[in-house]
């Protein structure tokens, strides 16, 4: 599996929170070659199952959220411009003249309008146009765009990807958190069936960016024996927090937290050491801000570990990840799955 190519295909899918069904056929086409079964639950999670074929196997739940931040149409102006509001935490600094796609009756390319300086009222100079006042320009007139787009139509960053650092880094929209999903699929692709001692339930969960709304339902229904939540975490960069930000290319980040299960997390760390795979550790005392928080106490409690991949420029159209981290995280997951459940 060409993990870079796969990552770009996966991340470029439209999955703005609440609209994760938009390209589900394409999602299944990409992921199903590596799994046995797939199901979509009542809250929008896409779940892929890999069976070990052994009697009464343990269940391992792996989560990587599938949704991404975006915008939604709240009105159409007389000049055809779309008025919008945000879905999840988007950044107004990055919007002037940003390329977007409006997912109406067809994919419509658009540009976020720049407010010309002469139209600023006093007190607005030097300030950004807040997201709630942004306009999206598709070039269509009101009548034309009204036939293609309605109130509630989602808008996402344009899916454009590039490589940097001699191909070591990939950059584009939707890496949070589909890059982790990509790493999971890569791990599963490397698994040897004969070494598989558990059933894997891989949930590409919905609605994380708008307040972790869906994953607990999947965990509740599946009642796994163990869970691994994967998400992105802040990569070290100028202006960041030197104590808590993680090294890009430094390997998977395994979190210490009251939320995460110490024994399972330590097992993952020792597996990394035994296999010579790089890893890092961070501390999120009582809340991790990830889906681990939502899985750990569901259904009587699920021993949960949190594994993260460092990312730069989170929630932008230029999210950047080191491909070494995608690959090493996948290798670690593969080894953890093969060793943790073999004797079980």
């Amino acid at each position: 599996m060409d993990v870079k190519k796969f990552s770009v295909s996966l991340c470029s899918l439209m999955s703005v929170s609440g609209f994760e069904y938009t390209e589900e056929d394409r999602l299944r086409e990409l992921v199903m070659p590596y799994f046995d079964e797939t199901e979509s639950d009542s809250v929008g999670n896409h779940i892929f199952v890999l069976r070990c074929g052994k009697p009464s196997p343990k269940k391992l739940f792996i989560d990587a959220h599938y949704d991404e931040v975006g915008l939604i149409v709240k009105g159409i102006c007389d000049d055809g411009m779309l008025r919008v509001c945000s879905i999840g935490g988007v950044d107004a600094r990055l919007f002037p003249a940003a390329d977007v796609v409006v997912y109406g009756k067809k994919r419509i390319p658009g540009v976020i309008a720049v407010k010309p300086g002469n139209l600023y009222k006093s007190g607005e100079k030097g300030k950004l146009v807040p997201v709630k006042e942004l306009l999206v320009d598709t070039g269509y007139t009101k009548d034309e765009i009204s036939a293609l787009v309605g109130i509630g139509t989602p808008i996402g960053y344009a899916p454009v990807y590039s490589e940097m650092g001699g191909g070591k880094y990939i950059c584009g929209k939707g890496l949070d958190d589909k890059i982790c999903a990509s790493s999971v699929v890569y791990a599963v692709s490397m698994l040897k069936r004969e070494n598989l001692g558990c059933d894997i339930y891989f949930s590409m969960s919905s609605k994380e960016e708008v307040g972790h709304r869906a994953v607990s339902s999947a965990a509740f229904r599946i009642k796994p024996d163990y869970a691994i939540a994967l998400d992105v975490t802040f990569g070290m960069a100028p202006g960041g927090d030197k104590e808590t930000d993680m090294e890009m290319g430094g390997g998977a980040v395994i979190t210490h937290s009251l939320i995460t299960n110490k024994e399972f997390s330590d097992f993952i760390r020792s597996t990394a050491k035994e296999n010579g795979l790089p890893f890092q550790s961070d501390v999120c005392p009582v809340r991790t801000g990830t889906h681990a928080d939502d899985i750990a106490f569901v259904s009587g409690g699920i021993p949960t570990a949190l594994v993260s991949i460092p990312i730069w420029f989170m929630h932008t159209a230029i999210e950047t990840v080191c491909t070494d981290d995608i690959e090493n995280t996948a290798k670690l997951l593969c080894r953890v799955i093969e060793t943790k459940f073999r004797e079980a």
Binding site: G89, N118, L135
Partner: protein, 348 residues
């Protein structure tokens, strides 16, 4: 007559050509027009000048500047990141989160203008553009020495973006505001049969137009070609026809034809030439519009007042979002500008 060549504008706009580093763009233009001209050369400032000689002494000079918004690399951090200074009238608020190319024009490298994650911004930071001193280019080299293998301090940079069509009506790309005039001028050159023309023509593709330097490279070009009867400046004008702006506030409107300015921020154009152009446009049924706010002001002033002075008119294509990675132009306005410019090569 051939209609406006959008494929060529696409090629020009995608090329790397920030203010002060226009060689690659001018190279494309030179290749394109050389065989249609009697002479093409670069002057001492780097302007590309082409001439079609006529039999009479009447000479019309066309001007357009070709440089796009960009920046200089002013320092390279120990971790390989590039710190930047804006060139001329670019704006920092359009840079955050954009893909960029950095290099010397011959070879360029991809990077991104970094943006701290929204999760770590203070309330105050969320409402303001990132200040220029905090902007940096991430190139993912990891080390100063690695970045220095690619380029050094003094390298140029500009946006990297895609060319696309919107609504079948608009084109969108970086640098359209800097190259639309050049595309018009190249199309114009096709239309002149150099063996038959009575009049003489100069075509000046000027550099550093967006630098804000007054009486700069364009003035030098005007001096270098010498006395002309008329200067026709081809360019673009930013519209403010957004957010419900009306009348004067809108400046001009995309889709209503090229703009013939009576005056702009720096120039009062030759009244009789402006009047004559408008009359000809009306007679030929070519749509045009006025510059409602006397806004803008590019290289015209440098040309009008360069040397002993020349009667000057200006034909501008309205653009949305100038100086950004996603400039938008209504295609019909390009056709209008080309038709208007052709009025000056139609010999009666």
């Amino acid at each position: 007559m051939k209609s406006f060549d959008f494929d060529f504008l696409r090629e020009l706009s995608l090329e790397f050509g920030p203010c002060g580093c226009e060689k690659a763009v001018l190279g494309i233009i030179k290749n394109r027009i050389e065989k249609y001209c009697d002479e093409t050369y670069y002057d001492a400032c780097g302007n590309l000048i082409a001439a079609i000689k006529g039999k009479s002494e009447k000479i019309t000079a066309f001007y357009t500047n070709v440089d796009e918004a960009g920046f200089y690399v002013k320092a390279i951090d120990d971790d390989g990141r590039a710190r930047i200074s804006l060139l001329g009238s670019g704006a920092t608020e359009y840079l955050s989160g954009r893909r960029v190319s950095v290099g010397n024009g011959v070879k360029t490298y991809d990077g991104v203008v970094a943006a701290r994650p929204i999760h770590s911004l203070s309330k105050d930071e969320e409402t303001k553009p990132t200040s220029a001193d905090k902007l940096y280019i991430e190139l993912c080299t990891g080390k100063k020495e690695e970045t220095e293998k690619l380029f050094g301090v003094g390298a140029f940079g500009t946006y990297k973006s895609e060319y696309s069509e919107l609504a079948g009506r608009y084109i969108k790309c970086k640098a359209l505001d800097a190259r639309a005039g050049a595309a018009v001028m190249c199309d114009l050159i096709y239309g002149i049969d150099k063996a038959k023309t009575e009049n003489g023509y100069y075509f000046c593709f000027t550099v550093m137009g967006s630098s804000g330097i007054r009486d700069g490279a364009a003035a030098a070009a005007a001096y270098n070609i010498g006395k002309c009867d008329l200067a026709v400046v081809l360019g673009t004008l930013g519209t403010s026809d957004l957010y419900g702006a009306e009348g004067r506030d809108a400046v001009c409107v995309c889709g209503e034809g090229a703009v013939i300015s009576d005056s702009d921020g720096r120039t009062i154009y030759s009244a009789e030439e402006v009047k004559a152009l408008k009359e000809k446009a009306e007679k030929a049924k070519i749509p045009y519009q006025e510059n409602r706010a006397c806004a803008g002001g590019g290289i015209s002033a440098d040309i009008q007042r360069g040397g002993e002075g020349v009667r000057t008119v200006c034909i501008e294509i309205p653009v949305k979002y100038p100086k950004t990675a996603s400039v938008m132009i209504n295609k019909t306005d390009c056709e209008s500008a080309l038709s208007l410019a052709r009025l000056y090569i139609t010999e009666e």
